[in-house]
């Protein structure tokens, strides 16, 4: 597709369930980012990939959060044993490396609600 695609758009999980959120970046984009956006807040950085290499995961809030991008294209953010505080919109963004295009292209996000 032309833009960054995320699925599912909406996910409701019971506390303790595992969830997986998928991101399809723009074809040819080397860099891929995951952000978490709580209601009424700005996006908070989670992790960053360049191709398949995870260069920064300093924003992952706990070891229940895990991200991968095994072939340098599609990425999956996995949250194990979900908690209510994990409820947020998870945004994926991609870009050409090191701001050569000057911008991140964001998907519409996956809204996770943990009951």
């Amino acid at each position: 597709g032309a833009g960054v695609s995320q699925s599912p758009r909406y996910k409701v999980a019971k506390r303790g369930q595992d969830v997986a959120l998928r991101c399809d970046p723009i074809s040819g984009h080397v860099s891929l980012f995951w952000y978490q956006q709580a209601l009424g807040q700005g996006p908070e950085f989670l992790t960053y990939f360049q191709n398949e290499a995870q260069l920064d995961k300093s924003g992952l809030p706990s070891d229940r959060f895990f991200a991968e991008r095994p072939e340098g294209s599609v990425s999956t953010l996995k949250i194990q044993r979900t908690q209510q505080e994990d409820s947020a919109v998870y945004l994926c963004a991609s870009s050409l490396p090191r701001f050569t295009a000057g911008e991140l292209f964001f998907g519409e996000g996956s809204r996770l609600t943990v009951l």
Partner: protein, 113 residues
Amino acid sequence: AQKVTQAQTEISVVEKEDVTLDCVYETRDTTYYLFWYKQPPSGELVFLIRRNSFDEQNEISGRYSWNFQKSTSSFNFTITASQVVDSAVYFCALANRDDKIIFGKGTRLHILP
């Protein structure tokens, strides 16, 4: 530490008025990048502008203009002759060389008809 502060949580103006959104940043780096993004009700963040720390020239794009002042660590955004379609949440953001972008908490802008 890097930080972006958008002190205005919410602003309402009547259509055709000018409005300025404030952004103050903190960084110890001499090389950094500043951004503004728009988040309409659909939720998708839309890139508006990127400036690097060595280019303090102000920029104008149609009804939008940006004022970058290193002396006050500010990167303010002005919309002239506002329109209802400008209603959105606007985020100022900062990045250094490691590509990680730090966002402010955003300013929700309401343009009233």
